[in-house]
């Protein structure tokens, strides 16, 4: 196993995986929150638009989205952010992952909003808070606390879904795994073990932390 680490930059590849995960998780959280607000807002048009986004994006294969980010935006529309392919692809893969997982974040948050009794929303409006104020002061703080577990699940799924970015050549772990398999078929089992253990190291703490937080921050009603 030491041979793999000395011959290949395994830690560097996991580094790219972590960068992809963190950046796209932040993006997905922002976009997902916006879409969730649209879906719970009292404006019918925004409701429908939010629902359309979620259903469209959630039901599209991620590989398709990621490859489209490259072939569609970079190759055909020339929307390059950098002349360096590695950087360009990292940025577009992050954008693709963020938009895809935003749909799941949105649904997680919406389930969190549903944990807040309807009476609270009505009470907030009846003491004169606007929709924005009631969202900010009453609904969303409780929604986030109630949605920690599904948000954690989405983050775990996102961590593993970063492997799809290899389709457009982002230098993350799945790509390195292919290279290692091609060069060193004699080390097939160690290669799988290194990658599998690496992902467990990344995702297991997420599960533990979210379980802990969801209990600690649960809204006692």
């Amino acid at each position: 196993m030491g041979e793999l680490f000395s011959q290949y930059n395994v830690l560097g590849a996991f580094g790219i995986t972590i960068v992809l995960t963190v950046l796209s998780a932040l993006g997905a959280l922002v976009i997902g929150t916006l879409v969730a607000i649209m879906r719970v807002s009292p404006v019918g048009f925004l409701n429908k638009l939010g629902a359309l986004y979620v259903n469209l994006v959630r039901n599209t294969p991620l590989t398709l989205i990621i490859v489209f980010c490259n072939i569609g935006f970079i190759v055909n529309l020339g929307m390059s952010v950098s002349d360096d392919f590695a950087r360009n692809n990292l940025v577009w893969a992050t954008i693709g992952l963020a938009f895809y997982h935003a749909a799941f974040v949105c649904e997680a948050l919406r389930s969190g909003v549903n944990t807040v009794p309807a009476g609270q929303a009505e009470a907030a409006r009846s003491i004169g808070l606007s929709f924005g104020q009631s969202l900010r002061e009453v609904l969303l703080p409780q929604a986030f606390r109630g949605a920690i577990t599904p948000l954690g699940n989405t983050l775990i799924a996102l961590t593993k879904n970063t492997t799809v970015a290899t389709a457009i050549g982002v230098a993350e772990v799945a790509g390195l795994m292919k290279t290692m398999q091609e060069d060193r078929p004699d080390l097939m089992v160690p290669i799988f073990l290194v990658v599998a253990i690496g992902f467990v190291i990344l995702t297991l703490p997420i599960g533990l932390v979210t379980t802990h937080l969801s209990q600690k921050l649960a809204v006692k009603r």
């Binding site: 072939i71 190759v75 360096d84 389709a167 050549g169 292919k178 290279t179 091609e182 004699d186």
Partner: protein, 274 residues
């Protein structure tokens, strides 16, 4: 816990079922003989191994069929041998042998044995037909290059041209699209694969192979490690394939349309089985 024992049993039963399912499906039998033979080929390389509908075409496919005939099999069944799965397909008897641009390397010899080489290819460049600025690996500085993620060619070109701006996709088809769209300047991999793409109807006249190889890839027929008996039979078939002129015919038919000529050393003399 009330359901403790039941759930443990359920888990054990499920696991046993899963393992049983894995056990089936492999075909045994060794040596030559009658009946159908399962052969691993590439499904996505025009000119070498390509699945088009129910038909299989290409230089590797022709050789695979010839070997099956020489060994006395009555019919052939082709299985897709993705690069990363080739060793596993052979060692678990899912295929009898593999003819799929399979370069003979020492690391691979740890897992499988090879008959051959039956062809000597080399890494080359595919560029747009009107591009005269790329004449070989030395003129790649500042150029945008494309290859397939995890391929030997990608690793190799990064060694030859340090810091090269390399786009990697999961298939060569995407590279060809990017090359035609002008997003990359060259596609690099074995010259045989490049010739296959250049000969495709959609690319004829638009793309050309530079024709200056910068590596040597000895294609062999992958088969079960240590099966010397079988290896000798396959080697004999390859030797006959080359001496009878079938080899030249297959090259002309499959790679000729792109104006491709096999490089030095072709046709090779298959090595003795160890």
């Amino acid at each position: 816990m009330k359901f403790g024992r039941i759930s443990v049993m359920a888990v054990a039963a499920t696991a046993a079922l899963g393992l049983a399912a894995c056990g089936g499906g492999t075909s045994g039998g060794s040596g030559g003989g009658s009946g159908a033979v399962k052969i691993g080929i590439k499904f996505d390389q025009p000119g070498l191994g390509l699945k088009a509908g129910a038909d299989y075409t290409g230089m590797d496919v022709d050789l695979a069929k010839y070997i099956a005939k020489e060994l006395g099999y009555s019919s052939t069944e082709f299985v897709e041998a993705v690069s990363a799965q080739r060793e596993t397909l052979i060692s678990t008897d899912q295929v009898k042998y593999i003819v799929g641009t399979y370069s003979i390397t020492d690391a691979r010899k740890e897992k499988v044995s090879f008959a051959g080489p039956y062809f000597i290819a080399g890494q080359d460049l595919l560029v747009r037909a009107d591009d005269t600025s790329i004449t070989g690996v030395d003129s790649l500085a500042g150029k945008k290059l494309c290859s397939v993620k995890g391929s030997t060619s990608a690793t190799n070109v990064q060694k030859k041209v340090p810091g090269v701006n390399l786009q990697e996709y999961n298939t060569y088809t995407l590279c060809v699209d990017a090359l035609k769209a002008g997003n990359v300047d060259a596609l690099t991999t074995d010259d045989t694969i490049l010739a296959g793409y250049a000969a495709q109807d959609a690319n004829k006249g638009k793309l050309k192979v530079v024709g200056k190889t910068f590596s040597t890839e000895n294609y062999g027929v992958g088969l079960k490690k240590g099966d010397v008996e079988f290896c000798k039979k396959v080697t004999d078939a390859i030797t006959k394939y080359i001496s009878s002129g079938e080899w030249q015919k297959a090259v002309d038919k499959n790679l000729g349309p792109a104006g491709y000529k096999p490089g030095a050393g072709n046709p090779p003399t298959p090595a003795a089985c160890a």
